[in-house]
Amino acid sequence: MKKFVFNNETEGIYPLTVQIISYIQNIAKDIVDDDAGFRIKIILLELLTNSLKHMGDDVTRIGIDLKNDKLYISKQDKGRPLEINTRQALLTWPLTQSKFTQNEIAIYGDDFGTLKGRVKNSNQLEFFTEDFDVRYVDRETIMGLNEHYGLMIIARASDAFNYKHKPGTGVNTFTSVIELKQR
């Protein structure tokens, strides 16, 4: 796995994104088409933005791995664990499953879709989206729009996206997986 260090400064977001994309294009040049290129870019931008929001002065490590045409983009830090205030409960780590009526948690959403988390175990959440086909957008739809897009963007752009919290070390890891296709 190739690792890149992000110093959690806004100015570093775009240069590092460009640097990582360049590395990925180099190791996977025959399997990164325009669509995959777009998805990789926004996932990196959102992971780094997420880091800026939650980290402070420490560094974040971005890991890139390619195995069997699957690209793994991970973000690792020792910042605050992921905190999500769902309608059902405030997520704290380790997750207590008894807080939820089922192992799927609605995190946020609007008429167009909901970002959900599937509890894999007490220290791992797998994100996915439930999308709805909205044919007519009226004022009510717009007024009800979600204004938080970060995790939703990554979840929609990824083929799989999860979060792990390691209690002993306090390490948080987000991992996005993109299935690349041979041209």
Partner: protein
């Protein structure tokens, strides 16, 4: 100032003077848009021509401003999106919410 504005016909054109539309400037962008809306501008065309990427914070600010505009009986159109930004709007379904035009002239004629 992030937004450079001028009136054209019945619309206010707001050119974003940024290359990177991200967390560092989304609050200011939202504040400036809110001032424009509260000043009575009904139809605002936000021009992204200079922007190379936009993040979730900036999208959230844009949506928040749209809600305020609609409450005031107005609307916001966006123009000058590069292909990645346009794809991002599609990914989060905001292409169904905002009127998206290639350029200001198209937005003025509603083409």
């Amino acid at each position: 100032m992030i937004l450079q504005t001028h009136l054209l016909d019945s619309a206010l054109i707001a050119d974003i003077q940024l290359k990177e539309a991200n967390l560092a400037n989304s609050d200011q962008f939202k504040s400036e848009l809110i001032i424009l809306i509260n000043n009575g501008n009904k139809y605002i065309i936000v021009n992204f021509e200079q922007v190379i990427y936009i993040d979730s914070s900036f999208l959230g600010a844009l949506v928040s401003a749209l809600k305020l505009t609609m409450n005031n009986g107005g609307d916001i159109a966006v123009v000058g999106l590069n292909s990645d930004i346009r794809s991002l709007f599609q990914l989060v379904r905001l292409d169904k919410v905002f009127k998206i035009y290639t350029n200001t002239q198209e937005a003025l004629t509603g083409a």
